[in-house]
C-alpha cells in the first residue's frame, strides 16, 4: 500500500515537473481564460445578466478543454515514445499511473479555476450566489472529465495532428448542446435527450445553479456527482486502452 502511494505520487510529481519545464503552456492555460472572460465582459458591457449567463458556464468549459488537450497529447506521447511500454514493465499499476496524472492535472485545473474565478467574480463582477470555492470544486470535477475524454482520444489517435482533431469532434458538439446558446429545456425533444446524455450539459447546469435565482445552490452537488460519474466511466474505459501487451 505504501509502495502504491509512493508510485502514484512519484508519477504526479513527474507530470508536474514536465509542466514546469514548459512554462509557456502553463502561462497560456492560466492567462487565456482570464483574457476570454475579460473580453466577454467587454462585449456585454451594458448587459450584466447576459454576462452572468455566459461567463459562468465558461468557467466550467475552460478546464474541460485545457485538460482534454494536455491529457490527450501527454498520453499519446507516452504511447508512441515507448515510455508507456516501459512503465508497464515496472511495478507501476495502470490505476496508479492514471491517479498520478489526475492529481497533477487536477492541481493544474484548480490553479486555473482559482485565478479565473478570482478575476471573474472579483473585478469583472460576475454574480455567484454560492461560495466561490464551489466554482473550484466544479472546475476540478470537470477537469477529471476532460482527462477521461483525453485519455480515450489518445487511444484512437496515431499522431498529434489526429489527437488535436478530437477536440472539435468531442467538445464542440457538447458546447452547442450544453445550454450555453439555447436553454436545454427549449431544445427539440431529440436534441434535449441528446444533451441529457452529454456530460458538459451537467457542468454548465452546475454553474447555472450557482448563478441563477431559479434553483437552489444545493442542486449543484447533483450535477457535480453526474460529472464525476462520467469522468470515472471515461477513465475506466480509458484504463482499458492502456494495454500491457501490444502487437
Amino acid at each position: 500500500m505504501r509502495g502504491s502511494a509512493a508510485r502514484t505520487l512519484a508519477t504526479a510529481r513527474r507530470v508536474l515537473l514536465q509542466l514546469r519545464h514548459d512554462p509557456r503552456t502553463v502561462v497560456l492555460m492560466i492567462v487565456v481564460p482570464c483574457v476570454l472572460e475579460t473580453l466577454l465582459r467587454l462585449i456585454y458591457a451594458h448587459r450584466r445578466v447576459a454576462f452572468d449567463h455566459a461567463g459562468a458556464p465558461l468557467l466550467a468549459i475552460f478546464p474541460l478543454t485545457t485538460v482534454f488537450l494536455v491529457t490527450s497529447i501527454a498520453l499519446l506521447r507516452e504511447r508512441t515514445s515507448g515510455t508507456l511500454e516501459r512503465l508497464l514493465t515496472t511495478p507501476l499499476g495502470r490505476l496508479e499511473l492514471l491517479i498520478g496524472y489526475a492529481l497533477a492535472f487536477g492541481l493544474l485545473a484548480a490553479a486555473q479555476a482559482i485565478v479565473a474565478s478570482a478575476l471573474t467574480l472579483g473585478p469583472l463582477g460576475l454574480h455567484v450566489r454560492g461560495s466561490d470555492g464551489l466554482v473550484v470544486v466544479l472546475a476540478v470535477s470537470v477537469a477529471l472529465l476532460g482527462m477521461g475524454l483525453g485519455l480515450l482520444a489518445s487511444a484512437f489517435a496515431r499522431s498529434e495532428f489526429q489527437v488535436v482533431q478530437f477536440l472539435p469532434a468531442t467538445i464542440l458538439p457538447q458546447l452547442l448542446l450544453c445550454g450555453l446558446l439555447v436553454a436545454r429545456a427549449q431544445m427539440p425533444a431529440g436534441l434535449h435527450a441528446l444533451s441529457d446524455a452529454l456530460p458538459m450539459s451537467y457542468a454548465v447546469d452546475g454553474m447555472k445553479h450557482l448563478t441563477s435565482e431559479a434553483t437552489p445552490v444545493a442542486a449543484l452537488w447533483g450535477d457535480i456527482a453526474i460529472v464525476l460519474a462520467f469522468a470515472a466511466g471515461a477513465l475506466l474505459l480509458g484504463a482499458g486502452t492502456l494495454r500491457r501487451r501490444t502487437p
Binding site: A10, R14, H21, G82, T83, T89, P91, R245, P247
Partner: protein
Amino acid sequence: MSGDVATQAVLARDLHVRRGEIEALSGVSFTIATGRLTGLFGPSGSGKSTLIRAIAGVQADVEGELRVLDLPAGSAELRHELGYMTQAASVYEDLTVAENVRYFAHLRGAKVGDVLERVGLHEQTHQLVRRLSGGQRARVSLAAALVGSPRLLLLDEPTVGLDPLLRRELWGLFGELASAGATLLISSHVLDEARHCDDLILLRDGNLVAQLTPAELVARTSTEDMDEAFVRLIEQA
C-alpha cells in the same frame, strides 16, 4: 529439477509470435543462465526485439512456454525484478537526466545511487533530455533500466550509435553487473560485440541459428572474425 530452476533465469520452449502477417518468432527454444551476460545477435528484423518484448511481458500473441525467474513471463511479481530498455530511447524528453532516472528509481522503490556515473552521464545530470545527442539519450534510457539493480536486465540494442570507446566501457559495465549476480540479455546487430558475452543466442528470420559461447563459435567456425563466423554458422545449418 530445483537445481535447474535456480540456474535458469529464462526458459523458452517452442516460442511462436505472430505480428500481423509475419511470423516474428517461429518455434524458438533456449535457456538463459542466471548471473550471465547473454548476447542476442542477429540482423535487423531477425526477431530480437520481439523476443525481448516477450520476455518483458509486453508482447501480445506469444505462444509456447516462456518462464522468467521461474514465473510465467508477464507475471506481476516479475515487474519488481525486471529492468527493460526498449530499442527507442523511452525516456521523457521534457525532463532532465536526473529527473528521469529519479522517477524510475521511485517506481521501483529504490535510490538513484551512482547509476549516472556508471553510464557516463554525470556531467549532463541537469540537462533536459531533449537537448542531448542520440547516444546520450540512449544512455539515459539505459540508466533508467539499471536503476534499482533489477535481477534481470533486458537491454534492446543499448550500444547502438555509440562511439567505440564508450561501447567498450558499457560492455565492461555489463560484465561487472553479471559478476555481481545480475542476469543480462543484451541485443545487438554488431556481431563484433559478441566477444564481450558469456553466452550467445543467434537469431535469423525468427529462428534460432545457435546458442553457444563465443569460444564455441570460434571453434565451430574456425574464424575469429565474428561476421564471418555468423555466415559460416548459417551455411553449416
